[in-house]
């Protein structure tokens, strides 16, 4: 833990200016992730800028029939909004599958997708971690990898000493649903405002695992838009975890289905919420039979790399995610009247 300056500016523009001016500054929203990191020494900022009351807390209808979630709306509020659970059940279900009531009352629309990995080595400052301290190596490779990635990694057992190695997963449930919904992220930063497709917000480790997203330093999320869905669209979120509640996903599936079209996003398998584009492509237009779904998932997972490690590694995620997708789509198609 390290002391820091704390600022509560009057508006969004000032907040952006303050963070942009200090290379080691961060935004604070609900604090449910950041404050833990301050305590653990995972985050060691000079300046913390509270934006909780600066962005909108409203959930508003958009002209195109979609919904806009203000960045300061809480996870509880979004999950409880009638428009959300009627039109976007996948999102309400994802939110309610996350954390606990108390945490969801604090956690925000802006903060949730930006929460950081739960990789235990990332959270323990006594162990090397490329994400926390670039260039120190990755402690997870060959270690406790039950919650780690099988997709988008350079391979099984990548070089733990290489500065680009990171096999972490993104832990957010909400983000998986937003990826399946093709949500759009509105930001304001030192370079002005922009809109980013949600699927492009998070990145794979590439050559810099310290960066979770494409946001620039000082770039603030102001709102997230949910595009309208065609009449009759069905959606669901299925989270698989060891404990019935209050646990992060081993794997999760967000599925959005309407006539002939299916969108699938996977959680717990990659450094970012993973759109199963190959599987979607194979399934598009065809019937969602068990056989077709399994075949599509086989194609999607062809490049999956199980990580060996203590206990028996994370290879179980490959059959698990395929089975969970099949079960979720079965549920959505059986529901059909």
């Amino acid at each position: 833990m390290k002391p820091f300056a704390f600022a509560r500016p009057g508006d969004v523009a000032e907040a952006v200016r303050e963070v942009a001016a200090e290379p080691n500054a961060v935004f604070l929203a609900g604090g449910t992730n950041l404050v833990d990191h301050l305590r653990l020494g995972v985050a060691r900022p000079e300046l913390v800028v509270d934006v909780r009351t600066l962005t909108s807390r409203e959930i508003t209808d958009l002209d195109d029939g979609g919904l806009r979630l203000g960045a300061a709306s809480t996870n509880s509020e979004v999950a409880a909004d009638r428009r959300v659970w009627e039109r976007y059940p996948v999102l309400a279900q994802a939110l309610l599958a996350g954390a606990t009531g108390q945490l969801r009352n604090m956690a925000t629309t802006g903060g949730n997708p930006l929460q950081r990995t739960r990789c235990p080595y990332f959270q323990d400052v006594t162990t090397p971690c490329n994400k926390r301290e670039p260039g120190t190596g990755c402690s997870a490779v060959g270690g406790y990898v039950r919650y780690h990635a099988i997709l988008g990694t350079p391979g099984a057992l990548p070089d733990p000493t290489a500065p680009e190695t990171c096999i972490a997963t993104h832990p957010s449930d909400m983000a998986v649903a937003l990826a399946a919904l093709d949500a759009r992220v509105h930001t304001i930063g030192p370079a002005g405002v922009r809109t980013i497709p949600f699927v492009d917000l998070h990145r794979l480790p590439g050559d810099d695992p310290s960066r979770d997203t494409v946001l620039e330093h000082g770039e603030l999320i102001t709102a997230i838009d949910l595009p309208p869905l065609p009449e009759g669209t069905r959606s669901a979120y299925r989270k698989v975890r060891d404990r019935a509640s209050y646990a992060f996903a081993l794997v999760s599936v967000a599925a959005v289905v309407d006539d002939g079209d299916v969108r699938i996003a996977l959680g717990g398998v990659a450094h970012k919420p993973w759109r199963a584009s190959r599987a979607e492509e194979i399934l598009r237009g065809g019937p969602l039979t068990e056989h077709a779904v399994r075949a599509a998932m086989d194609a999607e997972l062809a490049a999956a790399q199980p990580q060996p490690g203590v206990e028996s590694g994370n290879g179980f995620k490959i059959p698990l995610v395929a089975r969970t997708v099949a079960a979720t789509l079965r549920g959505l198609t059986e529901e059909q009247p």
Partner: protein, 695 residues
Amino acid sequence: MTDLLEPRAIGQALVRRDGEAKVRGTATYAYETPVEDPAYCHPVQATIARGRVTAVDTTAAAALDGVLRILTPFDAERLASTEDAEYAVLQSPEIAFRGQLVGVVIAETSEVARQAADAVVVTYAEQEHDSTLAVDRDDLYAPEQVNAGHETDTAEGDVAAAMATAEVSIERTYSTAMYHNNPLEPHATTALWDADAQFLTLWDSTQGVHPDRAAVCEVFGLDQEQVRVVCPYVGGGFGSKGRPHANVMLAAMAARALPGRPVKLALTRQQMFFLAGYRTPTIQQLQLAADRRGRLQAIAIDVVEQTSRIKEFAEQTGVPTRMMYAAPNRRSTHRLAALDVPVPSWFRAPGECPGMFGPEVAMDELAEELGIDPVELRIRNEPEVDPETKKPWSSRNLVRCLREGAERFGWADRPRGRRDGDWLVGYGVASSVYPTMRQATSTATLRFEDGRYVAEIGAADLGTGAWTILPQITADALDVDVADVEVRIGDTRYPTASVAGGSSGTNTWGSALVVAARAFRDKFGGSPADGDEVSGDVDQAAKDDAHAPYAFGAQFVEARVHADTGEIRLPRLLGVFGVGRVVNPRTARSQLIGGMTMGLSMALHENSVWDPRIGQVANHDLAEYHITVNADVGEIEALWIDEHDPYVNVMGTKGIGEIGITGTAAAVVNAVHAATGVRVRDLPVTLDKLLPGLP
């Protein structure tokens, strides 16, 4: 044989006397003790698993505003006794496990203490460490004895011969994980030396103020009169506060650096995974031989487990196998690996908890092999006398518990591989056991004060109910209304009491209170005068050595396994216990269902995942170390049969704190097997272990 107390207050479901204070938040716990101008500690921990501290640079830390003192292995006071290496804090630069204490910062606030602790720079000469437990290590050794004074090995007859000739035999290896006790209230102390550093007061979260004091006196070379330990309330201990750990010695040492000023030290949750004890992982090799009718010819358990290199703790995992079932040929052994790991210690039902896993799953496997109902198999192997000591049982109602449980649970109609929608359903059963113990020392005083009877004894209430049930016992012994009795506990100013451990608290303290009450009546009759006082000692209570005293139980579990994902849900748990007389059904039920829930937690969730590359638990916080939550517990019921045991003690009580956790995990594994056909022999049962066997 004793005539049991006539129950009047005993048996009533009285509400907790301390409940209201706890709900209102007025019950003070160790760390919250209101003291003037406290200073705060934050420990510094080793980041290597083996080696030596070569230097500690405190310059940056000491320069921070508000830092009062920093103690390191190079400048800390020398302790009077370093015999117990766990307690020898900051006495040497040697590192025996990762997370070991290598310093402490004392500061004006807890925040500054933590910041400064982070700023202390420790340099090490690191050595290769070895922290991997395995059955095939060549350095396994037999300890002199195992926990609670049991023999390391026992043998009778010829197991190998029986295995070779029996009609049916089962040979399997089971393992339980490493577990951390994780009481809600962390290990915490407020410590204050008087200005001359001659008298120490410790407000400490402990399962026994007197044992706590004894350990501190030994380490610091103090007389008992120089130390007072106070602990009215404990936010759970589960064994991890049964003996003090290094944090208590560190708090006392830190406070001595600032005599006259109170000092507070609470371990963080993460630190508790290094410093507050844990249950060793166990590897259990089981052998069962039987005839076709299911009569055991041999039963053997060979246990391999770990201890730390610097201090031995040998969990008595093989002990319940010695007495549970009849068989002419028997063997039990314990072998330890001394590793570069933190010091293991007591965890709810040490011995019986892990030791009722392997054997109770093996019995299920044997039942399956024989095609016999697992309830019936256990009944067929009911021993007439204790197979180990050959003594008759003080009372043994395992069969009744099994039968009654089976009846209530609907065991006869148990589903075999039934599918209900997406879920595969199965039932499982296992036995529970816990020895009935009474400690050798404990004294109570009883005084008539302002028209009420006030007893004092340094007992502990860990949330278990001692505040409430000790007055119930005393009232019946005095033959007065329980409202007229007050029992004060949790302070070394009261007479000596034993640790709240081994489910022996009620048996021990209750016995002392009854002795005192009877002496009081003998001396002062029915109408005492204000100030009349006597004391009573547990060693004056009737004692029986001719019988084998145990509590027994049977647990039934319904498991549902999701056919697609392998997720496991346990909608129903039922335990039926024979635990002697129940003093207070409300607090007893809490203990039993609490134990069963912890058993469920062990079965499905708890697992301190050891990373042998760095020598520490990888998932060392409560977000990643999963403990069963409410949503995991469906219907959970604990019942007890009427049991009259005249041999255990004058209350007829057997102790209920620990039996609930024994056998649960085996019942879960057996139920999951019934649902899926997959037999998981390594705890916890997680979905990845089931997936390959699912449709």
